[in-house]
């Protein structure tokens, strides 16, 4: 008999793998690795704001809602800066540094709020956020992950070809009558939503690695698009499920194990190359 928390972790891993399997190659092909770095800052800032509001209003479920809204807003600002002619890296650099500063200020406010209120329930939230805790996922968490994951997946599948085209030649899409800005913003929002959705499972600290490396690995070993997506999906699924099993027997957070396996795999491929 499999314990229920393990079953939830396995189901969450499968959902995360399907999402990352499709999105990670796009993140690599479009050169959005630095955007996932901005996600780290956006999600942390959003979480801090959410924690302040959650404590003040005595409703900690606000943390995820606020973090999601802030993240989407920040990726939209990055997309808008790109439209004004900033390179993707410059746009992320400007926004990330600004948001990092705001996050530190937010922590100052959070400490003050914590001083006057009981904050014990927040501890679990913070741990899930920073390191990811697949074993602490509740039924509600799993339901949210599955439902919103399905919506993201659906949009991703519908627009996948358009995303490939803007990654290949953004100006060409515009020149041949496509709305390249719409596709770019949609892709950025999907990356932001995906980050926000999986952060409690994979952890803020390791989010960038699990978002980037499966796609990078797949691009190293496959040429054809189907093979690339399939490899990315299989790598994520294998690594996620292995990390759940190893974590169960070793009591080490699964996100840490997943990151180390991915890093080792990528390193080995680089050395072999």
């Amino acid at each position: 008999m499999i314990p229920e928390f393990i079953l939830r972790a396995i189901l969450a891993s499968i959902t995360i793998s399907v999402l990352l399997g499709l999105l990670s190659p796009l993140i690599n092909m479009k050169g959005l690795a630095f955007l996932t770095h901005a996600l780290f800052h956006a999600l942390l800032f959003g979480a801090v704001l959410g924690m302040i509001l959650g404590l003040v209003l005595n409703n900690l479920s606000l943390v995820m809602v606020v973090a999601t809204l802030v993240t989407v807003l920040i990726v939209l600002i990055i997309a808008e800066l790109e439209r004004f002619g900033f390179s993707p890296d410059s746009a992320v650099g400007i926004v990330a540094s600004f948001v990092a500063g705001l996050t530190v200020l937010g922590f100052g406010v959070l400490y003050k709020v914590m001083a006057g209120r009981p904050y014990f329930p927040l501890t679990e939230n913070v741990v899930s956020y920073l390191t990811g805790e697949l074993f602490l996922l509740t039924k509600e968490n799993l339901l949210t992950l599955t439902v919103f994951g399905f919506v993201i997946l659906l949009v991703l599948i519908l627009f996948y070809r358009d995303f490939l085209y803007i990654s290949f030649d953004m100006e060409g899409v515009e020149s041949y009558g496509g709305n390249s800005r719409f596709y770019l913003v949609l892709l950025y929002v999907l990356v932001g939503l995906m980050g926000s959705l999986i952060v409690q499972s994979v952890g803020l600290v390791t989010l960038q690695v699990v978002a980037v490396l499966p796609g990078a690995i797949a691009l190293m070993v496959s040429e054809d698009l189907r093979q690339i997506v399939l490899t990315s999906l299989l790598v994520t699924l294998t690594v996620q499920l292995s990390s759940v099993v190893i974590a169960y027997f070793t009591s080490i957070p699964p996100s840490g194990i997943a990151t180390i396996i991915l890093g080792a795999l990528y390193g080995a491929l680089l050395i072999r190359k």
């Binding site: 519908l158 085209y165 899409v173």
Partner: protein, 265 residues
């Protein structure tokens, strides 16, 4: 005269800085213009302005009788192939279909059969039907350029803008691409503007030549525009036009030899 492009006292800016000034010319409906000039002369800037990508300009610019932003449906722009992201595993057919797929709707999960057929027809036109399912990044430089030409033609444009189509190609690939450009000129009878810093392989297909270097230096038929003193004024005192066996060549500062054609005296 009906024109594909008409510019009067066109000056192009980047912010407050003037990139190119005093451009005045007319190009007929099925004429080919070769746009020459050294690196940084403003060739791509002029091309992108005509394409409607760059809108900071003063003076008058009409493309097929409309403002450039309004004429986008009638114009196809072919970028330098190295500006494309080849990490994306698109096939030659995918790339060509891209030229038509965005004209219908905003969701394109699959290539519609009708566009697939047209894409194959265009690949046939440029002699590359056999590589339809090959990845674009695995094609040779000349093949890539021909695929981009097929992509530009699939939307049935009235004006084709080509940015350095021969750059970084070996002589045989240059010949392949030039022959396709000649075929487009003869069979499709659409106007073309081609930027190049090496005019030699293209002179036979050019009806007009424009020489620019931050401003328009010369415009006219090749034998009118490419004179010894004009070439010197752009490429420096070492540049010159020489005649060998009744053919004129111009030797520019970077030692490219441009043949001017037999008819030039």
């Amino acid at each position: 005269m009906e024109t594909s492009v008409e510019a009067k006292a066109l000056t192009i800016y980047y912010g407050k800085q003037v990139a190119l000034r005093d451009i005045t010319f007319q190009l007929g409906l099925s004429e080919t213009l070769l746009l020459l000039g050294p690196n940084g002369a403003g060739k791509t800037t002029l091309l992108r302005t005509i394409a409607g990508f760059h809108t900071e300009y003063s003076g008058e610019l009409r493309v097929l009788g409309k403002r450039p932003e309004e004429a986008k449906d009638l114009v196809s722009y072919v970028p330098q192939s190295h500006s494309l992201n080849e990490k994306v595993p698109l096939t030659a057919l995918d790339v060509v279909a891209m030229g038509a797929i965005f004209r219908g709707g905003f969701l394109h999960r699959r290539i519609p059969p009708e566009i697939r057929e047209r894409a194959l027809k265009m690949l046939r036109f440029v002699g590359l039907e056999s590589v339809a399912d090959k990845l674009f990044r695995n094609l040779s430089g000349g093949q890539k350029q021909r695929v981009l030409l097929a992509r530009a033609l699939i939307s049935d444009p009235k004006l084709l803008l080509l940015d350095e189509p021969l750059s970084a190609l070996d002589p045989s690939a240059r010949a392949e691409v030039t022959s396709v450009l000649d075929k487009i000129r003869k069979e499709r009878r659409i106007a073309m503007i081609i930027t190049t810093h090496d005019v030699n392989p293209l002179l036979e297909i050019g009806d007009k030549v424009m020489l620019i270097n931050k401003r328009m230096i010369a415009f006219g038929r090749p034998d009118e525009a490419l004179k010894d003193e004009i070439i010197k004024s752009v490429y420096g005192p070492m540049a010159r036009a020489i005649k060998v066996e009744d053919r004129l060549y111009c030797i520019t500062g970077d030692f490219h030899i441009h043949r001017l054609g037999r008819e030039v005296r």
